[in-house]
């Protein structure tokens, strides 16, 4: 009996320490980390990756704050990373463990959400821009004001993201996209009311679907979606709005309560390798901040205007705290009023 008990105890210990040493709980966007990359990492390091997904930065934040699950690596967008840093919810990243960090273009390091470059590693960069089906829309489209015209009523798809909608109007009015005040929203309201009436579909998950099926001819969508449309058919042109495009940076970070900090660093360095980073770009054609990986991409990939747009100024979203409620109220109000 004693032997059996001893054996049970030993195997249990082995089980516990075994799982501890060889697990990584990854919490990332759906459709962002290719399975091939995860499998390659597990094969090389014997670390098992549990990949849990979310569909918006807010959802990620809500689940992180709710507790219950402990994640080792999360993938917040820039302005959510800013909140996490400010509230001391992240573990500093040990740059010494990331020799491949040198591959990242300097312009994407030390950005406003992480000015000291202590807590985050850029994963992919994207923009929100205009897609035009040039087979149908023959006139030049340069910015938001060309898209939201009465003659395009019911021919427009936009992402179903209230903050995006409001930010487009703010830049069109020449205001700061991060300056969410009741006074500014009062200025936004009449313009946005007209714009919302013109939209046929609000879809954040797959706005390309409505464009592909010809249900709509114009869209304001994520650049990754636009890049895939362009790969599908060159008639889908991508245009950065002249009023000002909104770029976003999705980063990787380690939560303060992470249990497998070492494994997290290993994974970070693994995906920073040029050949691995290239695999991510192959599947999800956003802007890759990894300069060495870019050298491995095909000419065609680099020439995709949605993946590598000519953008000078990376003016990202900042955290707006409680003002998110004001935006939600405004957009709900306007959508209901039509």
């Amino acid at each position: 009996m004693k032997i059996i008990r001893l054996l049970t105890a030993v195997s249990f210990l082995g089980f516990v320490s075994g799982t501890r040493a060889a697990e990584l709980n990854l919490f990332a966007w759906s459709e962002y980390v290719p399975q091939t990359v995860i499998d390659g990492f597990t094969k090389e390091t014997k670390i098992k990756v549990n990949y849990e997904t979310f569909a918006s930065g807010e959802e990620m934040l809500a689940k992180m704050l709710a507790g219950g699950a402990s994640y080792d690596l999360v993938q917040p967008p820039d302005y959510i990373a800013e909140v996490l840093i400010r509230n001391k919810l992240l573990t500093p990243i040990d740059a010494k463990k990331l020799p491949n960090l040198k591959n990242v273009a300097p312009e994407f390091l030390g950005m406003p959400h992480d000015p000291e470059q202590k807590f985050t590693v850029p994963f992919m960069i994207g923009t929100v821009g205009i897609v035009v089906n040039t087979d149908v829309v023959k006139e030049p489209i340069r910015g938001y004001k060309d898209v939201f015209q009465p003659k395009f009523k019911n021919r427009i798809v936009v992402v179903n993201d209230n903050r995006e909608l409001v930010s487009w109007v703010l830049v069109t009015l020449g205001l700061d996209q991060n300056d969410i005040t009741p006074a500014n929203l009062a200025k936004v309201k009449p313009v946005l009311a007209e714009w919302i009436k013109l939209v046929k579909v609000f879809d954040s998950d797959s706005p390309k679907t409505a464009l592909l099926s010809g249900e709509v001819d114009l869209g304001v969508v994520w650049s990754g979606e636009a890049a895939r449309l362009y790969e599908e058919d060159k008639k889908f042109a991508y245009i950065l709005p002249e009023e000002g495009a909104h770029p976003f940076v999705d980063v990787m970070a380690i939560p303060a309560n992470a249990e497998n900090v070492d494994a997290a660093h290993k994974f970070l360095d693994y995906i920073l390798r040029p050949e691995v980073s290239k695999l991510i770009s192959d599947e999800f054609p956003y802007t890759n901040p990894n300069l060495e990986a870019r050298k491995l991409l095909s000419e065609e990939q680099l020439e995709n205007p949605a993946s590598y747009p000519k953008i000078e100024n990376y003016d990202t979203f900042r955290d707006i705290g409680k003002a998110a409620t004001l935006i939600d109220q405004l957009v709900t109000d306007l959508k209901s009023a039509q």
Binding site: D203, E215, T325
Partner: protein, 293 residues
């Protein structure tokens, strides 16, 4: 001994009789389930609805009625009204479509009854979301329905149906129709055909027979169906997003938004509490009416 007595007489309703230990034991799983998944979550919801949120969106326990003030503002009352309107229309269409189907199944021969019921239930074998995506393929302007109607020359131009309120109602009716058919079927199956024949023999026309014999006798089924369709249809948000293009918010969409995009849990909780109270009231009214009937 008393426990055994209680068991043996459980079929007989006796006023003032208490269930014995065995009775409580048998009830225990249900009570635990109710407490864990109904009472406790509802209590949390009620408490949150009177709290505030901090900058991060975490719930702060300081008493506030702001959320309720917002719930009763015209915007959200309008959304409630619209959601009820859509749900009522869905329920009405479900009754009109579902009653004849249920009636035919109930009157069919035993072998056919089983087969027809199976057909009603087969859609549940596939995920609800996948079935909704299938509707997108049918309804889109270069989709199956549009092509068919153009082919047989009923319409001239491609049909603009997807992402309209009509598409939302189609989706809702499709999703909830089985929940109307099944309870009506259960009532109709028990109905004694001799009563219908008697009505005919006594000079009732078909319409009058339907109104004064069939409907009253299947009322429990209709009420159950109304409850099963109307209540969930009010809160549905996936169909309005996918088939309605998220253009017009329903109360389900607004609540969902509070927990993710807007990060305002107290307001979401307040909407949820008001919404639940609406259910309770509508259930209570239906119960009273069916008791009266």
């Amino acid at each position: 001994m008393s426990a055994a007595d209680g068991m043996s007489q459980s079929g007989v309703s006796q006023a003032g009789r208490r269930p014995g230990v065995a009775g409580w034991l048998m009830l225990a799983p249900m009570l635990v389930w109710l407490a864990a998944f109904v009472v406790v979550p509802m209590a949390i919801l009620a408490i949150y609805s009177f709290c505030e949120r901090d900058e991060l969106g975490r719930v702060v326990f300081s008493f506030s009625t702001d959320s309720y003030v917002r719930v009763f503002s015209p915007v959200y009352l309008g959304i409630f009204a619209r959601s009820i309107g859509y749900a009522a229309l869905t329920t009405a269409i479900c009754i009109v479509l579902g009653f004849p189907v249920a009636w035919v199944i109930a009157r069919a021969s035993e072998a056919w009854r089983a087969r027809l019921l199976l057909l009603v239930m087969i859609p549940f074998w596939t995920s609800f979301l996948i079935r909704t995506y299938a509707w997108l393929t049918i309804l889109k302007s270069d989709g199956l329905l549009s092509a068919l109607l153009q082919h047989i020359r009923i319409v001239g131009a491609p049909l603009e149906l997807l992402y309209t309120p009509t598409a939302v109602v189609i989706g809702l009716v499709y999703a909830y129709l089985p929940f109307m058919i099944l309870p009506i079927y259960a009532s109709a199956e028990k109905l004694d055909v001799a009563l219908v024949e008697a009505a005919h023999d006594l000079g009732c026309g078909p319409l009058r027979t339907f109104r004064e014999v069939i409907v009253p006798l299947t009322k429990p089924g209709i009420y159950a169906g109304v409850l099963l369709v109307f209540v969930p249809a009010i809160g549905m948000f996936a169909i309005t997003d996918l088939m309605g293009g998220a253009r017009v918010p329903m109360i389900g969409n607004v609540i969902q938004n509070q927990f993710f995009q807007a990060r305002d849990w107290p307001f979401g909780a307040a909407l949820g509490v008001v919404f639940t109270l609406m259910f309770v009231v509508s259930y209570w009214i239906l119960q009273r009416r069916s008791a009266a009937a």
